[in-house]
């Protein structure tokens, strides 16, 4: 992985992902290692994403690295009309690695072709967000002890949910069984289902969340956004049926854990946070270890 960008979940092999997860496990035991003291890392956020940026910056800081960058495009030369290529080429002169978030699909791939230094994609529009996928995989492996043969449910917006698409693709490499729960208008796109089919795996589709509770090891919740619905009445009709409550978890398996990419709005009731099966805040914490592992691998330090 040394000197290789991570733009899309398909860029690394299954073995390489497992290696990153293994390194992340070491960082979880010992997160503060001053291995980046001689490195400068740029975090370029052309659109704001506080959660992702802080997670990356925490990872870099805990490893002793220096951070340069900006937190939204209005405070950079982008607002003067500079092209992405020029911004990237310039910043590449000042840093060893660029972490970038950008509102346009494909921006990170383009940046990786002109930078001359590795790029980590921290989200390019609606396209990819591979470190989210890595931390989801890490969280699954940590809570289930394995990535193989997992029954995983995805609930909510499966049509537009970028994190869902990446994780479905990734878990298709590990013999997972997929339980897809969504309103009719937000079903998983057929291009993503094709990955499941091509791997010879099974998926089941539901509109009712209650159907899957006793079947799954991992319950991956997502937010349903009002603006996704052409018909506002339809949104009102479905929104409450995908809110997770403690009483719905009664028949769930003992090993079952609830994941969510966050931010949450109201799709998981706050009372569920106290449930031992709630794992989403720990999941966010795992993001720091995974990002430490990824940066260390790309810079050839681990």
């Amino acid at each position: 992985m040394k000197n290789r960008s991570l733009i899309s979940i398909n860029d690394y092999s299954k073995e390489e992902y497992i290696k990153v997860l293994d390194i992340a496990e070491d960082f979880e035991k010992n997160p503060r290692q001053k291995i980046l003291e001689n490195h400068v890392i740029a975090t370029l956020f052309f659109e704001p994403s506080t959660r992702t940026r802080l997670s990356f910056e925490s990872a870099i800081s805990q490893l002793g690295g220096k951070i340069i960058g900006f937190t939204d495009a209005s405070s950079s030369s982008v607002s003067k009309g500079e092209t992405l290529m020029d911004t990237i080429k310039t910043v590449a002169n000042y840093s060893d690695l660029i972490v970038m978030r950008h509102p346009l699909d494909g921006s990170a791939r383009w940046a990786s072709e002109v930078a001359g230094i590795p790029i980590i994609n921290a989200g390019d529009g609606a396209n990819q967000h591979p470190t989210q996928c890595l931390l989801d995989m890490y969280s699954i492996r940590k809570t289930q002890g394995t990535l193989e043969n997992i029954h995983i449910a995805f609930v909510g917006d499966l049509k537009y949910g970028r994190t869902v698409h990446s994780l479905v693709i990734a878990m298709s490499e590990f013999n997972a069984t997929f339980h897809l729960v969504s309103p009719e208008e937000l079903k998983l796109p057929s291009v993503i289902k094709k990955y499941i089919k091509d791997a010879g795996l099974k998926y089941h589709q539901y509109t009712d969340i209650e159907n899957i509770m006793d079947k799954v090891d991992v319950l991956y919740m997502t937010r349903i956004q009002r603006e996704r619905f052409a018909d506002p009445m339809e949104y009102e009709r479905v929104k409450n049926s995908y809110i997770l409550k403690n009483n719905m978890l009664e028949n769930s398996k003992p090993n079952m854990r609830i994941l969510h990419p966050l931010p949450r709005v109201n799709e998981i009731e706050e009372a569920v946070d106290q449930n031992p099966k709630a794992y989403y805040f720990q999941q966010a914490k795992n993001g720091v270890f995974v990002r430490e592992a990824l940066i260390a691998s790309i810079l050839g330090l681990k």
Binding site: L84, P103, D105, G106, W110, D124, G125, A126, N127, V191
Partner: protein, 156 residues
């Protein structure tokens, strides 16, 4: 239709050059555009809605004193998968083959995704070409990873 009194406009046989035959009639003008014949300095003859034993109707292009690399000519397979290419030297056919769908295309098709970086900045487009289970040609954008299908192809 035989009328000996009517003046006939004859297109002379090529001495040297390329004939692109069996282009679907409704794709002839797109093919001319893709091959950038609009800016060609060589003599170009073309016709469409001509009768074809094989396809019922076809378009044909002849260009003098020009030959194409396979890469270049294969571009038109995206709109004219049935096209045949005939190379002529000294009035003789020296080679003849059917175009093949290229595995990758660059710079001449627009990405269908309005949020793709290639539609906002000066980034040359680049696609992997694949044919789905129903035989439809699809282009997967190297940048945004979205798919543009044959009916949505817009040529730059």
């Amino acid at each position: 239709m035989e009328n000996t009194n009517e003046k006939e406009l004859k297109v002379s046989a090529l001495e040297n050059g390329t004939v692109i035959d069996h282009i679907p009639s409704n794709r002839l003008f797109t093919a001319l555009k893709i091959l950038n014949f609009e800016s060609s300095k060589n003599p170009v003859y073309f016709g469409t809605n001509m009768s074809s034993k094989k396809y019922g109707s076809k378009g044909i292009i002849k260009i003098s004193d020009r030959y194409f690399g396979r890469e270049e000519i294969n571009k038109i397979a995206l709109v004219a998968p049935t096209a045949t290419l005939i190379e002529i030297k000294n009035y003789k056919v020296v080679s003849k083959y059917t175009v093949e769908t290229p595995s990758e295309v660059q710079s001449f098709i627009k990405c269908f995704n309005p949020k793709c970086i290639t539609n906002h900045q000066a980034v040359p487009t680049r696609f992997k070409v694949f044919i789905d289970d129903e035989g439809i040609i699809k282009l997967r954008c190297h940048y945004c990873e979205k798919t543009t299908t044959q009916e949505n192809m817009v040529f730059i």
